[in-house]
Amino acid sequence: MLLQLNNIFKWVNSGGQRIFLLKDINLEVEEGEFISVMGPSGSGKSTLLNVIGMLDGFDEGEYHFLDESVHNLKEKHRSNLYKEYIGFVFQSYHLLDELTVKENLEMPLLYKKYKGAERKAMVADMLDRFNIVGKKDLFPTQLSGGQQQLVGVARALIANPKLILADEPTGNLNSQQSEEIMALFKKLNEEDGVTIIQVTHSEKNAAYGSRIVNLLDGRKV
């Protein structure tokens, strides 16, 4: 088992009222799964993803990640955990505009204290694998959306995470680019055994996954 959520609640207080963002969520994810989280706007998809990714906390419930009890961990420990095992892919790519493709890919490795030669090899390997060697010295703004997201996925993968969290990875892309990215996800999942959780609006994209989780008003349905 990769991770397990037990009775997770998350809320905000607004005008004396408690508004639930997540309500009694239970979820088990096995290694090698490809899960699509679906639901209308405001149903709590992104919040759930952030909680799983440990970027956001929750108010009640238990969260186990690889035998660690996340709800009992201190901030520092938690960030070490997600640094080690989780890679993020964002809807609007979130590449650093000031850095080239190569440098963007290298960045996660810097924070994991890889040596210079090692970093170079890993970046080269990733450029090769995603077929973007020719683009390595370009800045993100010089790339198309699909290419940027390709770099985004490559960056998420570079440190060999166990889990990829993708928040509407194709939301800003046209249909052809979307298909390419989804095909890439499927390949990563099937061939490399990477666990993937994606948030999506599109039935078509959800179909690439092995399981669909539907949310409505913060509840699993």
């Binding site: 809807q91 000031e98 924070y111």
Partner: protein
């Protein structure tokens, strides 16, 4: 990692050129001011500290109760030094210092005026003025030996060896050069080109044993093992056995090292002095640097929207907060370093002007290791100070917040930034008010009713034969019509050289020890100086020969002495009965910043140093001066004719205050400039951040005017708060400053209104330019590019 940080920092700098320029320029302006002030402070703190035995050197002061107040001053009687040497074995060396004198040096028909003094042989033992030629032990031992500086030696003898050469001093005595001094450094109070031994004074009969005549400075150097505390108790009662007229007067040793920076005494206690200015300017330097740092913080955090994404991504990828803080601090240090390089350029460019302004020979010592160490220290300190707030602010962003697709807009004017803006403008307003009040005080004093006519009035110091031939000089000057009136006095009309609390008159109270200024004038003093008679008449020696013991009072003196009918009253002074013949209106005799003190003008029986001449109004000044010069050169041929216009001598009294004013103006302008740079940056970011809001408002029908007002309002509110905070502070400070002048303006509330309005309009211009630009942009663009 560091490479990656540097890369991001550098590309960020280049991408936001305007922001970077604002920041670098603001910081380097602040750093430049700080550097200049630190250079100056350093110079002042090192002043006169180069003497090897500085810790053992003391200036002899007196302390005495006068009218219930303990006065402290540093002139001593001539016989004191020998007594100290004789009675106190703890004292290793002692020397008198006669005060500045000017002598005419003659060698082979070459005449040169030189400035110097008369000292005891131990002088060069006490103070470290190295000799290039001659031995410290004996250069001042010959009665007719003189020690001169290398510059004077060069002027007199060119490149020839001066030792053993003879010169004639003041056209009377022959002296032999016994030693050559290295030129004095610029950071010493002493300013002399020659030293003559005390034995010469003795030989000429000018030495005296009079303990009431406090006229020379006495320096002592204690033995290496003498404790100051113990010895100062011992020497306290020195006068008891010697001074018949005031045996209770306390002799007090004041450390020489403190004389330059402190030496202001109030009721026997040291209360500061020049050090006050040093502390004030250190404060100003700190404040200006702080303002520059505040700018940096404001601009950096205002740009946080742009950096938020970077922080979010890095955190999501796994960057610990610590590393992000380091990154932002590093960026700020990088920016500060760039600013520091620019600062070096600015400082070396500005230094000559600054030196002229403060009248000091400051220089950048680029070969000094300490300079570079302290520069590096300042850069790191400033960088950390300026970067700390942005670093902690930015690194605290929560990735889940900033990465939700679109980045939320960050409000430009959040609370901490507001406080920083208020702080900046408070300082700026205080400085503006200070500038206004200083110039009002200066103008007011400059326009003060003098009580005498300074136009066309010149004075000349009496030298050589002028004393002897005075009568014939007067006759010729008046006869040739160059001068309409002439009088000789003991001091120029702009300076008081003599006073006493010893005068006696009928009805004087017994414990009255009020100091009364004393002037001497032989004849026609009222006419020459244009004084205004209230009662009686001018001194007229030709008509009334008894006027040699006449005296004229000013109104303050009359009021102090309390005569009902002053004419004919007798004032006893210096063993003479002076009879009052007239009363004049008060006139400014000493400092124009002080209130007028009681003054008496005693007649021809006194002593004289100066000739005052009223030039004939009928001729041009240059014609008059030509005649005057010719007459003086005819009767006093060896000496070149010297003279001074009274109006320029009077104007010189304002030099210090003019300098203060110029410095304040300079610092005020810089503060405003730096503050406005910051405000400009903030306003432009605010306009950028609210572009969508502006677009919506315009679509809904808002005019450019209403939007400009909307955007400017928030900033102007802050400046208004600054006005409210600054007004009481500056009112307090400036009233405190004005208290140091007896003749002063009262601060009007209009001044604060002026300062406030000025600041608000400057701020408005700065902000509204950005606001108008934002308000005029096309809403279609801002609304579709979301």
């Amino acid at each position: 990692m560091i490479k990656n940080h540097l890369k991001i920092a550098w590309r960020n700098l280049l991408r936001n050129k305007a922001f970077s320029l604002l920041n670098v320029f603001g910081l380097s302006a602040g750093l430049a001011v700080t550097t200049l002030i630190i250079l100056w402070i350093n110079f002042e703190l090192e002043y006169d500290r180069f003497h090897d035995k500085i810790d053992r050197i003391y200036e002899v002061n007196n302390q005495h109760q006068i009218n219930g107040e303990l006065w402290t001053w540093n002139s001593t009687p001539k016989p004191m030094a020998p007594v100290i040497k004789e009675d106190y074995p703890e004292v290793e060396s002692v020397s008198r210092f006669f005060g500045d004198i000017e002598f005419l040096f003659t060698h082979n028909n070459k005449n040169l005026k030189a400035k110097g003094t008369i000292v005891d042989p131990d002088f060069l033992n006490i103070f470290s003025f190295p000799l290039l030629q001659g031995e410290v032990e004996n250069v001042l031992n010959e009665i007719n030996g003189v020690v001169i500086t290398e510059t004077l030696a060069h002027k007199m003898f060119n490149d020839k060896n001066p030792i053993g050469k003879t010169i004639k001093i003041d056209n009377s005595d022959i002296f032999k050069i016994t030693g050559v001094l290295k030129d004095l450094p610029l950071n010493t109070k002493f300013d002399f080109e020659f030293l003559i031994p005390w034995s010469y004074l003795k030989k000429k009969g000018h030495d005296d044993e009079n303990w009431s005549n406090n006229s020379v400075t006495t320096y002592v150097m204690l033995g290496a093992n003498t404790s100051y505390a113990g010895f100062s108790k011992k020497i306290k009662a020195l006068r008891k056995n010697y001074d018949k007229s005031s045996p209770e007067m306390v002799t007090y040793l004041y450390p020489y090292a403190r004389t330059y920076l402190y030496s202001k005494f109030e009721n026997g206690k040291e209360v500061g002095g020049r050090i006050d200015y040093i502390q004030l300017f250190a404060c100003i330097a700190g404040i200006i640097l702080l303002i520059a740092c505040i700018n940096f913080m404001n601009l950096s955090t205002a740009r946080s929207a742009k950096r938020a994404k970077e922080v979010g991504i890095k955190k999501a990828i796994g960057a610990p907060k610590k590393i992000l803080i380091m990154q932002f601090l590093g960026e700020s240090i990088l920016l500060t370093s760039i600013a520091a390089v620019l600062t070096l350029g600015i400082v070396s460019l500005v230094l000559p002007y600054f030196n002229a302004l403060i009248n000091r020979p400051l220089s950048l010592n680029l070969t000094n290791v300490w300079f570079w160490l302290s520069a590096a220290g300042t850069v790191i300190l400033t960088g950390v100070l300026a970067g700390s707030y942005p670093a902690f602010y930015l690194s605290a962003f929560r990735p889940s917040k900033v990465l939700k697709g679109t980045i939320q807009k960050v409000n430009t004017l959040v609370a901490p930034r507001k406080i920083l803006v208020v702080l900046q403008f408070t300082i700026a307003i205080i400085l503006i008010t200070a500038t206004l009040i200083i110039s009002q005080q200066l103008n007011n004093t400059q326009n003060r009713q003098l009580g005498y006519v300074k136009d066309n009035l010149i004075y000349s110091l009496m030298e050589g034969d002028t004393e002897k031939k005075y009568n014939i000089i007067v006759e010729e000057l008046l006869g040739q019509g160059a001068v309409s009136s002439i009088t000789k006095t003991n001091s120029p009309v702009t300076e008081s050289w003599s006073n006493s609390w010893d005068m006696e008159w009928v009805g004087k109270q017994e414990d009255d020890q009020t100091l009364i200024l004393r002037m001497h004038a032989d004849n026609a003093v009222v006419e020459t100086m244009g004084l205004e008679l209230v009662q009686g008449r001018d001194i007229n020696l030709n008509k009334y020969p008894s006027d040699s013991t006449a005296v004229i009072l000013n109104i303050s003196a009359l009021e102090h002495m309390g005569f009902e009918d002053p004419i004919g009253q007798v004032i006893k002074d210096n063993g003479t009965d002076w009879h009052v013949i007239g009363v004049v209106k008060d006139f400014v005799f000493n400092s124009p910043f002080q209130k007028i003190e009681p003054l008496i003008i005693e007649g021809a029986k006194g002593w004289f140093n100066v000739i005052h001449m009223k030039l004939n109004d009928a001729n041009t000044t240059s014609e008059n001066l030509k005649v005057v010069e010719r007459v003086f050169e005819k009767h006093n041929p060896v000496y070149p004719f010297n003279f001074e216009f009274v109006d320029s001598a009077y104007a010189n009294k304002f030099n210090d205050n003019k300098r203060t004013k110029k410095l304040t103006v300079l610092f005020t302008i810089l503060t405003i400039l730096i503050s406005c740079l910051g405000l400009f940056g903030l306003a432009s970011y605010m306009a950028e951040n609210r572009i969508k809001e502006i677009g919506i408002r315009k679509v809904l029908g808002a005019s450019v005017n209403t939007i400009t007002t909307l955007l400017s309002k928030d900033f102007l509110k802050l400046v208004l708060i600054s006005v409210l905070i600054a007004t009481p502070i500056s009112s307090y400070c400036m009233n405190k400053w004005l208290e140091s002048f007896e003749y002063r303006i009262t601060v009007s509330w209009l001044t604060f209104v002026q300062a406030g309005l000025l600041t608000i309009s400057i701020a408005f211009v700065t902000v509204s330019s950005q606001a108008i630009r934002a308000a005029r942009s096309n809403p279609i663009k801002s609304l579709t590019t979301e």
